[in-house]
Symmetry: C2
Subunit: 423 residues, 2 copies
């Protein structure tokens, strides 16, 4: 039996065990799931030294391989970060359980009583990079929403993730839930990702990739099961002619610079030609003064000599850095056209005091999140009031925007009758 065959068999076994656990988890009452989450948190706190020690093994390997400092930083688990893992699980325990909620209820003239009831999706595969914190977050969110999770983190975080999963499984034990409700792929072999993308013989209902563009792109193009993901967030702020200049500067600055590395950070600023006289120079100055490189069209370059020329490529670039593209457009119509052409249907904002322009922008733009007079950095499940999120989805179906507990559920129809047959 070679390694490939044995990995396939091992992964199929994992999938079958997850499916069985999912049936049990779907029936588990909220109190039992919350008890498991709190027991997971307690076990993580008690095991802080072990987790840190396993994390050091990963860090030594990472340093030996001379991986980038930013990579090593994301991989590192110190006492504060281990406490944050535990706290995160307790936060999930405190969220309302979406399972069992009646989403709609109606009666038909023949007396049949219909309920649309929230139920778990089933088995969710999480494929992520070497960020051990995702192990706890994703495992906790899947479990609370009644789904079994199969976790496959980056191979460089293998030992850290294994130590965390051991705590999650101990928490499941304590609450009398199956350990197989949260499983980790027990090898760093890369072909296991391919097996997950194939769906584990029908055992996987959904895959959520968490990581950079190359990971998400591979999952999107190869997965044979549904995927919740976004490839990139090319988010726009459009400053309309009727914008308040101060507000425009504040929103542009926050959208771009609050955190430049998140998917909801703005990448292109569009300024209405009819208001450019008032807004363009101010917006650009605010950005450059805050340390942002500005690449602009001829109008932006004319407004400030520090603006560098933008190329066609800049309009569709997700910088994830202190760089922004600035362009003048002819009103809300051309702004919508530009965003439709170059955007990624993630998050886009209009700044204006003109209600009609705002409503047109909110209505016509086909993005998961459209905002009026607010920063694009509100594109976050916590800011929506969803509690913890597993990511942001830009696909059209099922989950669009922040993916929290509710988005990790589906529904079924329960129909109650008194002997009705169809004529």
């Amino acid at each position: 039996m070679n390694a490939v065959t044995s990995n396939r068999e091992m992964m199929m076994t994992l999938g079958q065990a997850a499916r069985i656990a999912a049936r049990e988890l779907a029936r588990a009452p909220s109190v039992q799931k919350d008890e498991a989450l709190r027991a997971m948190a307690a076990k993580i706190r008690r095991s802080a030294a072990d987790i840190a020690s396993e994390n050091r093994r990963d860090l030594e390997n990472a340093r030996a391989r001379e991986l980038k400092p930013s990579f090593v930083d994301r991989l590192t688990l110190d006492g504060v970060r281990i406490e944050a893992l535990a706290r995160g699980l307790e936060d999930i325990a405190a969220l309302p359980d979406p399972v069992g909620a009646v989403m709609a209820h109606w009666t038909r003239p023949n007396g049949l009583d219909f309920s649309r009831v929230r139920v778990p999706i089933g088995v969710i595969g999480i494929i992520y990079e070497s960020r051990p914190n995702v192990t706890a977050d994703a495992g906790g969110l899947c479990m609370k929403s009644g789904n079994a999770a199969i976790l496959r983190g980056g191979s460089d975080s293998f030992h850290s993730s294994a130590a965390i999963v051991a705590c999650l499984q101990r928490g499941l034990d304590v609450a009398g839930l199956p350990r197989t409700a949260v499983q980790m792929v027990p090898t760093a072999d890369r072909d296991c990702v391919g097996l997950m993308l194939e769906g584990l013989g029908g055992a996987l209902d959904l895959i959520v990739p968490r990581g950079g563009r190359s990971l998400v792109s591979r999952v999107q193009s190869e997965a044979r099961v549904p995927v919740f993901s976004h490839l990139e967030g090319i988010c726009h702020v459009y400053v309309d002619k009727a914008a308040d200049t101060d507000m425009a500067c504040r929103i542009v600055l926050n959208s771009k610079m609050r955190r430049t590395g998140i998917c909801g950070a703005a990448e292109t600023i569009l300024v209405d030609r009819a208001g450019a006289e008032r807004h363009l120079r101010q917006v650009i100055r605010a950005l450059i003064d805050a340390g942002c490189e500005v690449r602009g069209d001829v109008h932006a370059m004319a407004a400030d000599p520090r603006v560098k020329p933008a190329s066609e490529e800049d309009w569709s670039t997700e910088y994830l850095d202190a760089v922004v593209a600035v362009k003048v457009v002819d009103g809300v119509g051309e702004a919508i056209d530009h965003i439709t052409r170059y955007g990624s249907q993630h998050t886009d904002s209009i700044v204006t005091e003109d209600r009609a322009a705002a409503e047109r922008f909110l209505a016509e733009l086909d993005s998961a999140i459209v905002l009026h007079n607010a920063s694009t950095q509100f594109a976050d499940g916590g800011e929506f009031g969803f509690g913890a999120e597993i990511g942001i989805a830009t696909g059209k179906l099922h989950a669009r925007g922040p993916v929290g507990l509710e988005q990790l559920t589906t529904f079924k129809y329960q129909v109650r009758g008194t002997g009705q047959v169809r004529p």
Copy 2:
């Protein structure tokens, strides 16, 4: 330029045109869409002779190819059926428009105002067999829900479908909507299906297959875009020990025999061992007396000498005919286990006067539709009150159960602020 290249270019052009039309359609008010639907219906009535004449071309080809009488029947459009096409479009016009509905609305402590608003999905591809009526139904449902449609019907109905699409496009014209909102693949070349399954370079958001197992199976396994479909409906009726015998016989009979060829028809009857004495013989007799062949386990065979032996294969067979499998199980728990193992997560019903048993069945069974004391043949969008449906989906995500107008929409978040930035 060979035929394959030219089909690819033609299909890409179709996709791009659909995407442009979809943007316009997404903004179209309900009255305009309803005007188009009524104009489509009027044009179909006025063109009845032309449609019938084009249909005769298809029928002549079908007879020349010696296709099955049932196939030819489904292909046939007489005056009554052409009137039904027109009436169907008028019925869709009378349904409420799902687009623009506010599904949820809340405010956050920072004053941000969130709305989750229903929007069209975008461009929907319909791949179907040689049933010309699907052309009008699917085109009308997609258009009303604000989606552009690309229709690819079976090649044997090519002329009939083309005549119907001409009427639909005339209706769009009359209402001032783009003709490209409903397009038909203008060739019967089979490679066009493959191009649709690839997604037309990102232009297609969704594919809905309508037809038999081989068509749906191909679409499910090859599509690179989301699919709403069901491969089969292996629906069950479980007769619990606490069932009313008369009701059980009535529901079993209706579930199996009202129409045997629909996906919501029952294929397996499970009888509780503890109630078998009272129910088994009666249920079997009712079925056989109605002309149904019964294949059963040893208990069913012992109950009636006319019962034939069931093989393992029978438990997972969708007969779509007057044949049924009957098995004795140990209570609701074993019924759930059997259905979970052999079913297709479509529609399953329990007959019982025991509320606890019913609620367990409704809660634990992971099927799109679960019923208590009602026929499985209620698995139908019309019976749910959804109006017309484009099909039934057994996938877990987005649309589950009947796919009507609402299920052909998605949503976006509109966030209204007063200058909020994120701390």
